[in-house]
Symmetry: C2
């Protein structure tokens, strides 16, 4: 996954481990797909395969919610969909505001995965006066001045920050002051928030950097002639690029002779 992780450990609630909570949406998605195909029941083995996890893990996860399965048969799909939705709080309506309607903000506003899971885009907010009134995804963009009023009128408790990094902390503070207690942050910054406010972070470039690390490792192993499990068809190309990227600091310079990556965040 991408994605960042919580800032605070987020103490486990009612004994449901954080790791399990993070997997519930995965199960829910797989179950929903089964539900649409009118599959009545599913075994832990099948569902685990569909969700991409270990079946023992899945059973243990479900055991935290209660005993919703039938031995010898499996789980009732519809019932499980409901129980998980309920546990995640998706049976209620969650008004959400998106702040920062650039490319990413617009993409989020258009993203279908929100509305279908109980999330309602209550407002789109941007600091650019030129954006005000312009409809995005059928919703008129409102100016930042209205932020506090919107939050309070709509009873918004979840905010999405898709602004540039420089504006994120300030927006965050205004959201929190107005009553938001959960924030999904797409800006590449560490947000500091008071206790009681949850922040989750999604960072697009971090994920790529992690991939690059593993990719480099693969290339290094190939160049070193180490055994590699599969991906044999790829060897030439990977080796071509990574051959010079040896482990030891033979030279003090990078393989391309370039300078360290420096960016304006």
């Amino acid at each position: 996954m991408a994605t960042g992780r919580t800032h605070r450990p987020a103490t486990r609630s009612r004994g449901i481990p954080e790791a399990t909570v993070a997997r519930l949406p995965l199960y829910l998605r797989a179950l929903t797909a089964l539900s649409e195909r009118s599959v009545p029941t599913v075994s832990s083995e099948e569902l685990a395969a569909a969700a991409g996890v270990n079946s023992a893990k899945l059973r243990k996860d479900f055991s935290y919610l209660g005993s919703y399965g039938t031995r010898g048969v499996g789980y009732d799909v519809e019932y499980l969909v409901y129980q998980i939705s309920r546990e995640l709080g998706l049976t209620q309506d969650w008004p959400v505001v998106i702040v920062g309607i650039g490319n990413l903000g617009a993409a989020l506003a258009n993203y279908g995965g929100f509305a279908s899971r109980g999330f309602r885009v209550a407002a789109l907010i941007d600091a650019d006066p030129a954006m005000a009134g312009k409809p995005v995804a059928g919703i008129p963009v409102q100016h930042t001045d209205e932020l506090e009023k919107i939050i309070q009128d709509e009873g918004v408790s979840i905010g999405v920050i898709a602004t540039p990094a420089g504006a994120a902390q300030q927006v965050c503070e205004r959201l929190v002051a107005a009553g938001v207690t959960s924030i999904l942050n797409f800006a590449p910054t560490v947000l500091s928030v008071p206790d009681g406010v949850d922040v989750r972070k999604v960072d697009l470039s971090i994920e790529l950097q992690i991939l690059a690390f593993h990719e480099q490792r693969k290339a290094g192993e190939l160049a070193a002639g180490a055994v590699v499990p599969a991906a044999a068809s790829r060897q030439e190309t990977a080796a071509r690029r990574g051959a010079a990227a040896g482990r030891e600091p033979a030279a003090d310079q990078g393989p391309d002779g370039d300078v360290p990556a420096v960016m304006p965040t």
Copy 2:
């Protein structure tokens, strides 16, 4: 972070724990900011605060890379930027293709955080013939038919999937067959890939669902009259919505009387 996690455990390489690798980009960002302000050295305490982590954790993370600090002084910012960039493989050029140029794909193409960290958008690919030739972020979109050729010509090993869920697996298979060994998946599906291929997942709606879970828990605790650390100013609104969302299954129905969230993925 949000975010999804790796599909495979991704065996630790050269003894650097996966958790540490995931934090290196955070440190790198904080260090880059310091570098721009021409700060020569930084202590583990300061840097940890800037990156939003524990200072002991940070020191332990750095210890996996080697002894790059000076006791009594701290770490040399420039040197550390270089070492981390190098470790992450950011000192080399990574051509990347983005498949699926919808709202999200366009946002990714425009995202500045890529180019600045050694990632180069080698091509934008979309299945819609009407998109072909249309420039997005200054790069002309190419048709899916060209996929294999592009991958091979450019030596691309990292692919980004931003297609609808239904197309993701097929695109994935074509990418892998053409030589891609690392995939960043934004489509809400579990991708199945052969050994040797890394997949990281970013799922926007999963993060929101996790926030909703905690939000519901907070609301439940407030309604139950439990002590709550801070966020006192918010109590009324949160309680208003969450009051009926008690822990015990008083009614078999959700607080809003609505049906379980069912969506088309």
